[in-house]
Amino acid sequence: MRIAKQRFFGAAALVALVAVPMIGVRTLSAQAQGAPAEGGQGRGGRGGQGRGGQGRGGGDAKAPVASVRAIKVKGNVWMIVGAGANIAMQAGKEGVVLVDTGAPGMTDAVLAAIRSVSAGPIRYVFSTSVTLDHIGGNAVIDALPGGDTTGKGRGGPLPNNIAHANLLDRMSRPGPDGNSPFPTVGWPSDGYLSTRRNVYFNDENIDLIHEPNAHTDGDTIVYFRASNVLVSGDIFTTTNLPLIDRKQGGTSKGMLDALNAMLDIAQPENMMEGGTYIIPGHGRVCDQADLVEYRDMLHEIRDRMKDLVTVKHLTLEQVKAQRPLIGWEGRYSRPDWTTDMLIETLYQEYKGDGKP
């Protein structure tokens, strides 16, 4: 078939008339498809709340992601990841609250992550436990004049570091050389002795609750009431077997009590999902169901150890041979906190303290 040039252009014009607008629509609609990406997964975009700050919306799989970064969790609360332990941050018109400060040597990156959300001054630092990757940035952040993170501040009061008195006691305890291994500027400036401390900041009630003898004897969990976000410290992680530090006063009973106390605070939105979000000491953003799973694990491990140690009276080696942590070994055992280490810790507790 031969088409005259004039007729070809006529046909082409008809093609353009019909097809090009459709191509255009497709292109525009492809851009529009980025919009649902912000909605996140599942119902109601709940998952999206945890991902909105990560720059993944719009389907750009290759977007560069900083290793230390702030992730929006809910309300006024963000989670800073990649700097050791998870750091919780509440930001608002009055400034910034930090729960923990990360590992030593990471503070510049942490401050950059904070500035990506707020240029406001850091007014409070709450320390959840004496563990180094939680308080490693205290010495720098607690010494920021006016809590300023931008380098443009005019000075002012230092951030107020609040922690339980037992944590202050352990940080200030002299080492072999007679000096504390922690610089004094990084010690809590306010060590509370009661079971809880309350702070009102950025239009939000913040509860600091002491959980005795859990991960250590100086643990604090922090609940941001209006944001409905609970910060657990190392009492709960998604990466490790229960971190019971007996040398620092931790016990399995205290851990279980603390996990149950957190379950009493956390509420699901619907069908055991969403609602209160929990920032664990390490790992991903969680909700009550994840906390339940972890509590159940420790409960079952305790029951198994109790049977082997206090009922069957097995030796430590016999207990290990019985694999009382089977079911969670592959998921949680890490070189720095192994199955054997937890078994040994629990064995000592149940042998030495008698009643688990």
Binding site: V15, S29, P36, G59, D290, H299
Partner: protein, 313 residues
């Protein structure tokens, strides 16, 4: 300018060819609508709301659930088996466990009136499918726009995060970010590292769904299962949540946790020591097979395993 009929035909073909670039793949099947498991009609879950779900296959799973310690055919490893043996059914009486929906590792196996909807863009391309109707509505959204899965810090959900693409006549989806859950309703657990691959294939009036559970922590190999659905325009997913909809209707989509028994210790977690589960022989005795068979493992899924059982009798 006047175009001849030949010119108009040429233009139409050219336009059609160009438009095809923006059209869905020719192989994409229409899976949108209401579906039900075959055999529905006898079971009326919610009076006045039409028939409920089908019992033609997997009846155990769509009613009271399977026997305890019946892991036959599940490729459990030692860790997965230990988790399963620790399970005490009384756990479902603990308020924090009462409202758990069926997770994506299991949901197509349970009672279900499937309803699939789609989100379209301005050019009628499918941006996402929504799969609803599973027990307690852990609805699954299947993103078809090529977006990546969330990273390691994103929350996990019962439904997980799903992306999909058409491969020939089959919609193939991948689900990640699932919570700790189960693979059968007798304590056979799946971990939060489980990934589910699901295949949706429509052949005329049958929608076949095949799903594969990959769990590096609890399974030695992929666990595969399938189920069929038939069109059921008369069945509404509202069956599952009809107000006052019979004994089961409301509980399928609505759940309010409460203390149902007197619990001296409100924090008690019912569980068995994995080495002392009292039901370890129950199912095996009923089937007159060795207890080792009901403890599962990849070998127990193979047809040859029946010959092995016969030889051991």
């Amino acid at each position: 300018m006047k175009l001849t009929r030949t010119d108009q035909l040429t233009a139409f073909c050219l336009a059609a060819a160009v438009c095809m670039v923006g059209a869905p793949p020719a192989s994409a099947q229409d899976i949108v609508g209401a579906w039900n498991q075959p055999g529905a009609g006898g079971a009326v879950i919610a009076p006045g709301n039409g028939p409920g779900f089908g019992f033609e296959e997997d009846a155990e799973e769509r009613a009271t659930g399977p026997y305890l310690v019946d892991y036959l055919g599940l490729p459990l490893n030692d860790e997965g088996r230990a988790r399963a043996l620790s399970y005490d059914g009384a756990l479902l009486g603990v308020p924090q466990h009462q409202c758990m929906p069926h997770p994506s590792t299991y949901s197509f196996w349970g009672p279900i009136n499937l309803r699939i909807a789609e989100d379209l863009d301005d050019n009628l391309n499918v941006v996402a499918y929504h799969v609803g109707g599973t027990f307690r509505r852990a609805d699954r959204t299947i993103y078809m726009d090529g977006r990546p899965h969330p990273d390691e810090y994103a929350p996990h959900t019962w439904a997980g995060f799903t992306t999909g693409q058409w491969q020939g006549n089959t919609l193939v989806t991948t689900t990640t970010h699932i919570k700790w859950a189960w693979i059968r309703r007798n304590g056979s657990a799946t971990s939060d590292e489980a990934v589910v691959t699901t295949f949706y294939t429509r052949n005329e009036n049958t929608l076949t769904v095949v799903w594969m559970v990959h769990d590096p922590l609890y399974l030695t190999e992929t666990y595969t299962h399938s189920t069929d659905f038939v069109p059921a325009p008369q069945v509404s997913t509202a069956t599952f949540g009809a107000p006052g909809g019979g004994a089961a209707g409301g509980t399928f989509t609505q759940c309010f946790a409460a203390d149902e028994t007197v619990r001296p210790d409100p924090y008690f977690v019912p569980n068995y020591l994995p080495w002392a589960n009292p039901f370890v022989d129950e199912r095996a005795d009923k089937l007159h097979i060795p207890a080792a068979a009901t403890l599962g493992g990849a070998e127990t899924a193979a047809p040859e395993y029946q010959d092995k059982l016969k030889r051991t009798k």
